[in-house]
Symmetry: C2
Subunit: 421 residues, 2 copies
């Protein structure tokens, strides 16, 4: 089938009566799509008789849907987008997304000083990372309808906790309960040290739910314990406990491990449309259904049957979500022509007279910036990325062109160059 026909066929289903908001609202398909688990279920021993569906139907005010954000890393990928997309579905159903920036923990870092991952961030770094995060999820969330989005920093309440309150938080749980938590259990069994402060993190996340009075908390399947702690704390403090809505952890484009930057099997939200397209058109067969279910709103029953068509359609649809239909078409054309022509211009590093070379100089040489000085300024402003990674070091130097071959250099959201030999 011709690709344009394919698109219009799917779009006609999307526009049909059975796929309307009203219909989806009635059967809660918007709620259940791609969800791994909603808890408590009415038959769970500790639960209220109410189900989340009932709570939604009976709500006389917008419900408050919590999603916690870790502001230690700036760049996010399609795996991170899954709970954000579900948050958008709640927004569209009239509810309030409450994004919680976990700035308190980021400001403290790892108190043992042993973890590089948990290095202490300054207030400015946290704010910058949070802003970068918000910029990246802007295409997903509804930022504009009044009352649909609340962004909170948890230092607002966590910095005010005193020892009395913290003893109270801790007293709601036993050592046995905490050691039953996935992660802790194995480490304790293997006699790997668990530091006592680690027991406070689930309670801090739980207390966030108390502070914002959330009705539902979204998270990956690995968040069940923490979300349940939030329920217990809300009950302890006299609030109605939240529901937990768990979403699957996305498998990366390698089809094997979970999507992760460090494994290189990711598609970053700030990547160039052509990069996204190229990565996504290679997603293995066995993952296609899950990707469609979790990363698009398309009706799964009307998708093309041919695997190659499905890959292309997935790539096209996701690029369309983040960059619009024109960019999606261009990225597709570029991929068709073998990447030789199209949306991603190339720059030959042979044109750089001398290595080692400063990144700021290279930015000027590629034409992405007007001069080395502008290159420096753009780095300072946090606008420069290499393969989607934000660069913070104004004086970054590359000792040889080998370190850059094949990488994509980016300034702002729309200017990209692929560095080649």
């Amino acid at each position: 089938m011709d690709f344009t026909n394919l698109i219009s066929k799917v779009q006609s289903v999307v526009n049909s009566e059975s796929y309307s908001m009203a219909s989806m609202a009635q059967n809660f398909s918007w709620l259940h799509r791609g969800v791994a688990e909603i808890f408590p279920q009415p038959h769970d021993a500790d639960s209220e008789t109410e189900s989340l569906e009932k709570r939604l139907l009976n709500a006389d005010r917008p419900l408050r849907i919590k999603l916690g954000i870790d502001p230690t890393g700036a760049d996010i990928h399609l795996g991170h987008s899954i709970p954000v997309r579900k948050l958008r579905a709640f927004q569209d159903a009239g509810h309030t997304a409450v994004l919680i920036i976990g700035d308190f923990t980021a400001r403290i870092g790892d108190p043992t000083g042993k973890s590089d991952v948990r290095r202490q961030l300054t207030e400015t770094e946290v704010k910058q990372n949070a802003q970068t995060y918000l910029d990246q999820v802007r295409p997903i969330l509804d930022f504009d309808t009044p009352g649909r989005l609340e962004v909170r920093y948890n230092s607002e309440w966590l910095s005010r906790l005193d020892l009395g309150k913290i003893l109270e938080l801790l007293s709601t749980m036993t050592v046995g309960q905490m050691l039953a938590k996935e992660g802790f259990a194995e480490r304790y069994k293997k006699e790997n040290p668990i530091f006592l402060h680690e027991f406070l993190y689930p309670l801090m996340q739980g207390f966030d739910s108390v502070a914002v009075e959330s009705d539902v908390e979204l998270g990956g399947t690995d968040q069940k314990f923490n979300i349940a702690v939030g329920r217990d704390l809300q009950r302890h403090f006299g609030l109605k406990p939240q529901f937990g809505l768990l979403l699957p952890i996305l498998i990366g484009t390698d089809g094997v491990q979970k999507m992760s930057k460090s494994l290189g099997n990711y598609v970053g939200l700030s990547e160039h449309p052509s990069q996204k397209y190229q990565k996504l058109q290679g997603v293995p067969d066995n993952l296609l259904s899950q990707y469609f279910e979790l990363l698009t709103d398309l009706p799964l029953e009307s998708l093309p049957e041919n695997p190659r068509d499905r890959q292309e359609f997935l790539a096209w649809e996701i690029v369309r979500q983040y960059h619009g239909e024109q960019a999606a078409n261009e990225a597709r054309e570029a991929a068709k022509s073998g990447g030789k022509e199209g949306a991603l211009p190339e720059f030959s590093l042979a044109a750089i007279p001398d290595f080692p070379a400063k990144l700021a100089f290279i930015l000027g040489a590629t034409g992405l910036c007007k001069s080395t000085a502008e290159g420096k300024r753009k780095i300072q402003e946090g606008g420069v990325r290499i393969d989607g990674d934000k660069i913070n070091d104004v004086d970054l130097i590359f000792s040889q062109p080998d370190d850059l071959y094949g990488k994509v250099l980016q300034v702002g959201k729309k200017n990209f160059v692929r560095l080649v030999k």
Copy 2:
């Protein structure tokens, strides 16, 4: 041997050259007497090469000797007096006693609300209990020499801890280390719940050592873990770690279990001289040496050989410490005459016309107070005790005289009456 001769013989040894402060200072007999353990010892793996003795000899300022006090109970007994007596020995050697009133925990109570022992106290109750404590240890400690006593309330620093600092405290220990603590280990093994906030208490006690910069902490042998935590925290915060000086737990007058009010095998510091004498002259043989060592400063080698003489001498000496020589002699006379005559007057409850009877009324009837109204006021002021237990209930009623037979009713520090048939 005649008792008066006995006393003068022992006193001549006390006054001799070999028993002088100078001599004791040199051989540190004042330090080692009755001590179960001093740690670290120079040969311990984690220790400085310095010993406590060296630290004392080389000190160019008075050392700070910490003893923590739990202000939840008002009345203390001879078992509690042991570390206080050691504190006095440090004072006499020129050092500073730092008494820490644990008001912070007492003000919070048990956050689970499950423990009656740990009920939440008001600020006034804590202050009253602390004052009662200080009144009782006044005969032991040097309150008068400038710079020898510092009384601190730990809410001063604990109430100022924020979550960041508390995470830091917690991060200095692992779950495994904490579960190795006596008490926790057995409970965890037996699957008895250990609540998470219980892990904070040793760290709070340890942080007290940081806050007051103690050089030595005194405690019972059950305090080794907590004192060691204090050492670790001091090191963490860049201070020289304290020494721990552990004292034995006193066996009660039954010769079997540790001295405890609830077991009835105790001698209270606020009891009448005659009560003290009577209880102490019955201390079993096998405990006499330990009682002399821990509760008196007498030279152990010059004590009478005859067990009966030793019992009487112990009773006399301890009453002398708390009430002076005359009271000790009177208490001895009273005991000799079978309690029939002597220091403790009796009141026959047959003189009370009607039961149930209010305690305030009985106070008036016995002549301890001028009227029922004064009886009420004295209870309100915290000045009334039955068998050494402070009475707080102004409206306390006894339904039958049986509940009072044989008990000692007390108003203030000096007015006692034994209630008889």
